[in-house]
Amino acid sequence: MNLYHYASPSTFYPWAGKLIPWFAALALILAAAGLYIGFFVAPTDFQQGEGYRIIFIHVPAAWMSMFIYVVMAFWSAIGLAFNTRQSFVMARALAPTGAMFTFVALWTGALWGKPMWGAWWVWDARLTSELILLFLYVGVMALQAAIDDPRRADRAGALLNLVGVINVPVIYFSVKWWNTLHQGASVSLTRAPSMAQTMLWGMLIMALAAWMYTIAVALARARTLTLERERQSEWVRARLEGQP
């Protein structure tokens, strides 16, 4: 198998186009199943009442926000090492979705915090790290938006992404350290006591749905980016005859 064959834009484009509907359908089915488990199968939590059901969004979103950053760094590293343009396109296509999930994790964290802690925002280690992760996403996107030359934008963003991914564990550790010194342990969203088996399943299925959604959206975005970049090439010109 020749990897470079799949790395070429003219094979990637139709290939991604075929995959997107499948991933989108999977995302829908899994989300429906996850929500069904989350709302109708999982029992009421004896401590947090019905409010805990936010975790079916919050935890998968928080996982995704971190995974996507790491996946982006993976594509960035591949792009820098092997000089494959399509890898940078993938890294770039993932960033907005990652930022979206980070925002969702923060938003749902705040909505969970209000009834549980009595405040919309608490400087909890997880929420704080998530906030800094949002800054990291915004930084990469702002840098790429500020550079006109796509080649330079790709590489600069990839470097920043890699520096960020080395730094994320340090940041997480430092924030955790800071938090234990200043506040002591607090109730955490994921350490919900006596997590029922069904809750765990609901979360996992929702996380899978989020994965499928991310893949579908990232491929779609990568397709548009590819189209824009390869506009001079013959295959794009031939494609333009058809439907968008």
Partner: protein
């Protein structure tokens, strides 16, 4: 190799000495930012003592960022950056030298001013000493990580604000360990752990930052 590094540092320090106005601006920026906080918060001594370490550290971050966007930009504009990049010595030494020079020019003065500002915030002598020590370990980190941001944003519109956006999140560990060390003294829980972690972070950035900013420089100049 060492001679090359030394030349880079000496050259930047010489240039800063010829432009003392710019240099003084950055130092006064630090002093003024720190002095604004009591005016905004109120002169209650206990309160000032609690926020003092954090305020001084945040102001140090801002002051280092203020001068960062010009780290490579001036040399880029007049072409001397290209010449330095064509030198037979490895480019990571160039970026390391630039970061060291930035620290000598902007970091060391902060160490000297910080105790005076600490007194304004009612910090006891032991805490002042740790404040200076934490800044001594921490400000090189700011220069090193900052050089990555400066290299990435070289020649872009709105480079200054962009550097802040890119680099501030990376500064978080330095801020937490640095300010935490001083607070450790104030609360009596000790500062060794914080300082060792800060030192480890310095070693990590010393090992990685020059390479990354050399690569970033290559990407930006190309």
């Amino acid at each position: 190799m060492l001679r090359f590094l030394f030349t880079v540092v000496r050259r930047d320090v010489l240039l800063a000495a010829r432009r003392r106005g710019d240099w003084l601006t950055a130092q006064f920026f630090f002093v003024i930012v720190v002095s604004m906080f009591p005016l905004g918060i109120g002169p209650e001594p206990g309160m000032l003592r609690t926020i003092g370490p954090g305020v001084v550290w945040v102001a140090a971050l801002l002051a280092s960022l203020l001068s960062l966007d010009r780290l490579f930009a001036d040399d880029y504009r007049d072409g001397s950056l290209e010449q330095a990049m064509l030198s037979p010595c490895p480019m990571a030494l160039l970026t390391l030298g630039k970061a060291i020079a930035h620290w000598v020019i902007n970091g060391i003065p902060l160490l000297l001013i910080a105790p005076l500002l600490g007194i304004q915030f009612n910090l006891p002598a032991a805490a002042l000493w740790i404040l200076v020590l934490s800044l001594a370990i921490g400000t090189p980190i700011l220069s090193l990580l900052g050089s990555i941001g400066a290299a990435l944003t070289l020649g872009l519109r709105g480079g200054g604000a962009l550097v802040t956006l890119l680099i501030m999140p990376l500064y978080v560990p330095a801020l937490i360990f640095g300010a935490g060390a001083v607070e450790g003294v104030l609360s009596g829980s000790g500062s060794e752990a914080h300082l060792s972690l800060l030192g480890a972070f310095l070693v990590l950035s010393l090992l990685l930052a020059p390479w990354v900013s050399a690569m970033a420089l290559k990407v930006s100049v190309e």
